[in-house]
């Protein structure tokens, strides 16, 4: 029913209702419970994913600042960070896919640029470089600083996403 559903903070209530309609027909479950269960599951999963990405960003920041302060050398730092580039990409893409599949367009378009940027960064590594973090180049042309900035921005962004998912998850659970 149009009137009873609360207006979603994420978008017009119209969109949400369309989704609920299809879920109802597809699963054959009760109209509200099935949809909100899916929502809750989706948001719980993305919350967990987002947590992992936050920890990963923090790990990147700590390792890069260790390099800045001479606690580790360039080779050790870069091999540590290169190991986590693909997991980070996978986590970000997973989050994006989740949002796409559950058709939450706002969060999808929120996740898409970062996922695209991660993929672009990975693909654009020159053949002669040892990964996204190259120990011979990291001290040149301010790369250390730019990687640090990137990690900080991602941290802030993931925190923002975390709270958005948290709110949506709570919303989904309440309405369950």
């Amino acid at each position: 029913m149009q009137g009873t559903l609360p207006s979603s903070p994420l978008g017009g209530s119209t969109t949400v209702q369309h989704v609920s309609h299809t879920v109802e027909e597809g699963t054959g479950k009760g109209p509200s419970t099935g949809r909100w269960k899916m929502e809750a599951v989706v948001f719980i999963l993305s919350l967990v994913d987002c947590c992992a990405l936050i920890f990963l960003s923090v790990y990147f920041i700590i390792t890069l600042s260790d390099l800045e302060c001479d606690y580790i050398n360039a080779r050790a730092c870069c091999s540590k960070l290169n190991k986590w580039v693909i997991p980070e990409m996978v986590g970000q893409c997973l989050s994006t896919m989740l949002m796409l599949v559950s058709m939450h367009w706002f969060t999808f378009f929120l996740n898409l640029p970062v996922a695209a940027w991660n993929i672009y960064r990975y693909v654009k590594v020159p053949l002669g470089n040892m990964g996204v973090f190259d120990p011979t180049e990291i001290h040149n042309r301010g790369q250390l600083k730019s990687h640090m900035k990137e990690a900080m921005i991602k941290l802030g962004y993931h925190l923002l996403c975390f709270f958005i998912y948290l709110y949506s998850m709570i919303l989904a659970l309440i309405n369950d």
Binding site: L67, E68, D70, N73, A74, R75, P126, L127, G128, N129, M130, P135, T136, I138, H139, N140, R141, G142
Partner: protein
């Protein structure tokens, strides 16, 4: 007791060197020799602002044609107080692009010139003070070594000139062993010399100093004779030597003492390398000298029999690395073809049809990270890899060069090496190899470059690995390597009148002694654009721009790099025009200190490394790029803008008298065809090679008395040695060429060329002339003027 040098209060408006560009400074200038500032004491009171110093004299480049000074350009002298400048570091060792440092980053950005340092820290020096001291005095917080530019607050405390921390003078430092006096720490040699070497105590060793270990790794036998002749490699009684040869399999040589002849062990499993015997592959050179000599004599016969065309370089390098792993040392790799087997196999990426492409050049960056990874592994174990490439085919120097670039090795390239058909290259190789085997060497070295508070280094150029911030890892350090760094100004240098830079190189000498060589440079801080322009060092700026352009070609593209170089000239001259020039005149105006800047930029654009439109082999291009980054500035400049002299009319006028030999000093000529003539002979000195051109109508006197031939037609094609005739002209010519060669540690071969073959060189070497793919100097100036007026 006496007084102590107080904090430097604002440098006096010191005499701007009026004779800056005209005072000849011979390259063998003693350390911290008197600069031109001392020659005009009466001008000491003049301020920079009131009269225009020579460096800022306005030059209209479009009108004045003859800009090249007749003698090689000396480096500019920083505008410091005389007593500071007298002890300042030798510019051949430590040089800045701007001898007056801007006060703020925004001021530097306005000047549009790069700020950087060019170093040659391990240069062979004729005078080097060496200090053995139980305590090496260093700042407590920033660990700077005590240097001539610190200030003593009283007898017991000194203030660091890099971080401004006050430190205590240790008791032992109060005694001066040189003058046997007590209580005058400022007279100690560490505080009187900007370049000094310490013998390092045991705190500076991570492990006992390593012996000299040399491994020769080859798929050919070209080095054998030279090594036999120079078997006394630098080292002491612990020196070790080893050999590895390879083709599609890897061959080790058991040289154990007691064997009657060397034993060859072949490992054919190149995918899983193992060392066939645990020791006796690297043996003590003194104990097993006969076996080593036997091996060197028999290697050429071994190689003659093989018809192999496969090269498993990657696996062989891994095997050699395993061999050198425990001790560190130097690996010399001689390679004659593209490695095509096993790990690290490379493809032939060059398209011969694209050599003369006017558009972008591809494949300037490595194809694989195998050699880079191996170089980093080597660097971690103090192994340096030097690469000798003797091949006429494409060898992917972009990828192979990485093995030397990050392990502090050097690359040598002989593209047309053939033992029968090209004796000039063979001689060049033999001489280079002799220098390589006998020159001074330092092992397991690290270098740290420190700057005054407020400045920081953001990019490094040269063959080394930057292990952590400002710490360069150099498994081997040799006297022919140059380095460059770029700096930025993080905090405004408001209260400082001078800033200092210190390069400290900690190394193990070939005799197993741990030593620290420290160089300190001091420069004034200025806050006006005109002062910055007055202190610009055009050669250092060109050298640094060349390094930056090489980086840009690899990371972005060659056309980007070319545009960036042209923009450097446009931006700096535009900035001069807008901010410094008081009277706007038409034409292309430049300060006198930068008048050669457009010429040098054009020379870079026409250099083999960056030129487009002229057929250039990819490996040749890459080697030129390697050289621009690796060579010290003075040789890079000769490579970029060779010196041209007329040699058929040498006279004793103005000649130097060195070692009872009269060395004529002909004028340096512009690189333009209009300076050449068929009735003369010219010598072009390009640093690593020299050309002697003989004009078609050259005076017969020159032909007979210097070349020893009766006529022009009789000049042989491959002449590379001047006959030692008894005539005055022959003596003068040979004295001049010998003097040029003596100034550099390597031996540039001489090619005597007749007019007929001459035309091929015009395009590449006469920088000021137009070619079908590049502008002439005048057209380039017009292009700059057009861009500046936009």
């Amino acid at each position: 007791g006496g007084h102590y040098p107080s904090l430097p209060l604002g440098y006096q408006n010191a005499a701007p060197p009026l004779t800056q560009t005209l005072v000849p400074v011979p390259l063998s200038q003693p350390l911290g020799g008197p600069g031109p500032a001392q020659l005009s004491p009466s001008l000491a009171a003049m301020s920079l602002q009131s009269s225009t110093p020579e460096a800022l004299r306005v030059v209209n480049l479009l009108q004045e044609r003859n800009l090249l000074p007749p003698i090689p350009i000396p480096p500019p002298t920083p505008c410091l107080q005389q007593d500071l400048q007298k002890i300042n570091c030798n510019p051949e060792v430590f040089r800045s692009t701007l001898t007056s440092i801007p006060q703020t980053q925004s001021l530097l950005n306005k000047a549009k010139m790069p700020l950087g340092l060019l170093l040659h820290p391990f240069k062979d020096l004729s005078q080097l003070p060496v200090v053995t001291s139980s305590t090496i005095v260093r700042c407590r917080s920033c660990r700077t070594y005590i240097n001539p530019f610190v200030s003593f607050l009283d007898q017991r405390r000194w203030k660091c000139n890099l971080c401004y921390r006050v430190n205590d003078v240790p008791e032992e430092f109060m005694y001066n062993p040189v003058s046997r006096s007590y209580g005058e720490p400022h007279k100690r040699p560490e505080v009187q010399n900007a370049t000094i070497e310490f013998i390092a105590p045991s705190e500076y060793m991570l492990r006992p100093p390593q012996p000299a270990v040399y491994l020769f790794h080859s798929s050919t036998c070209v080095f054998c004779q030279s090594l036999l002749d120079n078997i006394k490699l630098p080292g002491d009684s612990r020196t070790k030597i080893g050999f590895v040869t390879f083709d599609s399999t890897i061959h080790f040589y058991n040289l154990q003492e007691g064997l009657s002849q060397p034993q060859m062990l072949i490992v054919s499993d190149i995918d899983d390398i193992f060392l066939p015997t645990p020791d006796s592959l690297l043996v003590n050179l003194n104990e097993c000298k006969e076996l080593v000599q036997d091996l060197l004599k028999s290697l050429p016969t071994l190689f003659q029999k093989t018809m192999e065309t496969q090269s498993a370089l990657g696996s062989a390098l891994q095997a050699a690395y395993k061999l050198l792993l425990p001790t560190g040392g130097r690996m010399s790799v001689f390679q004659t073809q593209l490695p095509n087997l096993g790990v690290g196999a490379l493809q032939s990426r060059e398209d011969p049809n694209q050599r003369a492409s006017a558009k972008d050049v591809q494949h300037l960056s490595p194809a694989t990270d195998f050699y880079k990874k191996l170089a980093l592994d080597c660097s971690g174990q103090q192994v340096a890899v030097d690469l000798f490439l003797l091949s006429s085919q494409y060898c992917d120097l972009a990828s192979l060069g990485c093995i030397s670039r990050y392990s502090a090795g050097s690359v040598y390239y002989y593209p047309s090496y053939h033992h029968q058909h090209n004796p000039a290259q063979v001689e060049c190789f033999q001489r280079d190899l002799k220098r390589y085997l006998t020159r001074k060497i330092g092992f397991e070295a690290v270098m740290r470059i420190r700057c005054s508070k407020g400045m920081s280094i953001h990019t490094f150029h040269g063959n080394f690995f930057v292990r952590s911030t400002d710490l360069l890892s150099l498994p081997n350090v040799n006297p022919d390597a140059g380095f460059a760094v770029q700096m930025s100004i993080e905090e405004n240098l408001d209260d400082m009148q001078i800033v200092s830079f210190q390069a400290a190189l900690l190394y193990t000498s070939s005799k197993g002694e741990r030593r620290i060589r420290v160089h300190t440079l001091c420069l004034p801080v200025v806050n006006s654009l005109s002062d910055i322009f007055a202190g610009a060092d055009v050669q250092a700026i060109t050298g640094l721009l060349a390094c930056m352009a090489v980086d840009r070609s690899a990371t972005a593209s060659l056309s980007d790099a070319r545009d960036a170089m042209t923009n450097a000239a446009i931006d700096s001259l535009a900035s001069y025009r807008q901010s410094v020039l008081s009277i706007q005149q038409p034409g292309l105006l430049a300060p006198a200190c930068l008048r050669l800047f457009p010429l040098f930029i054009l020379a870079l654009l026409k250099q083999k490394a960056f030129r487009t439109g002229t057929s250039t082999r990819l490996d040749d291009r890459l080697f030129a790029m390697c050289q621009l980054k690796y060579q010290p500035l003075v040789y890079s400049m000769l490579m970029i803008h060779p010196a041209l002299y007329r040699v058929d009319d040498l006279s004793d006028e103005g000649a130097l008298n060195i070692n009872e030999r009269t060395v004529p000093q002909p004028r340096v000529l512009q690189l333009s065809v209009e300076k050449l003539s068929r009735e003369a002979a010219f010598l072009m000195d390009a640093g690593t090679v020299m050309y002697l051109w003989v004009g078609r109508s050259c005076q017969p006197a020159f032909l007979t008395q210097v070349l020893g031939v009766s006529s022009y037609a009789a000049v042989p094609d491959n002449l590379h040695l001047l006959p030692e005739l008894d005539t005055a002209e022959s003596q003068r010519t040979r004295a001049f060429i010998g003097w040029l060669r003596d100034q550099r540690p390597f031996f540039p071969p001489l090619h005597v060329i007749r007019w007929v073959s001459f035309l091929g060189f015009i395009r590449s070497n006469m920088i000021e002339d137009r070619t079908e793919s590049a502008l002439s100097y005048y057209e380039f100036l017009l292009h700059l003027q057009q861009q500046i007026s936009k």
